[in-house]
Subunit: 164 residues, 2 copies
Amino acid sequence: MPVNEIKLELLTPEAFAPFGDIIDAAGSPDMMINEGRCGRFHDLARLDFGDEPSRAGISIFRSEACTLPYVFNLMERHPLGSQAFIPMSADPFLVIVAPDDAGVPGIPRAFLTKPLQGVNLLRGTWHGVLTPLVDDAVFAVVDRIGGGGNLEEYRLTENYVIVE
Amino acid sequence: MPVNEIKLELLTPEAFAPFGDIIDAAGSPDMMINEGRCGRFHDLARLDFGDEPSRAGISIFRSEACTLPYVFNLMERHPLGSQAFIPMSADPFLVIVAPDDAGVPGIPRAFLTKPLQGVNLLRGTWHGVLTPLVDDAVFAVVDRIGGGGNLEEYRLTENYVIVE
């Protein structure tokens, strides 16, 4: 099976916009609260949980780590809702996404977060499984709670390997 | 002005239940995902954003730290929605809450989180301002986005001091 190399990219709002949102304290706060002690960076993610009775929920994902070079061929997407990943430690993690290509994943891209950054994946965005770089990494995940088929997995016909 | 001492309590689900939810990876995962690499602890918070057009949003709060002993007399609550605080580093923080006493805060209680714990405050729960123990602490906050008066502040007639 051929192996295609993917170079890690820096996570920037421009590069990531087609796939989702970066959740971080970039720039100046939208407002100061708590008697001036705290800055609020307001409403940073394009959340989308479809129609009721589906709703937003907060879950915890605790994941094994991956190491670079990281080989993968599994992608997935959630057709019914967005999914946000908030790391609960300051360790960076990999965000693997792909554009849609007529219903299957196109060529994947891999982004490396900085400390204190989370991401929100838009509804239907192809993405890799959670790939922290330290073991037992803990993330708060804001995604859709509700019935229906909200997981679509796709096994790529070629392996990809993410390198620094 | 009299000063009333409040001793820090350990954050346990039983003690905290009247005020909200602990968001952490306690016990066993509800399901294994990502080919067995990741445990999902499912739907841990009683989110409540009222009726549409209000909705869930994710914001970032970046706050100054407090130090113990910590003196305060300001409480607030959000009558229209729940509010969850997800720390984005592994540093513990204080969670100050109070029962409602005929429309004003009763005697406050103060809980200390452990690393990798967030909390969700139930709609209408009296609470103190965000009180991390390290400066420039960053939290992802899941709360209600929408119009209307969702902030009620109350200045206590006595000071309280939180001690270890």
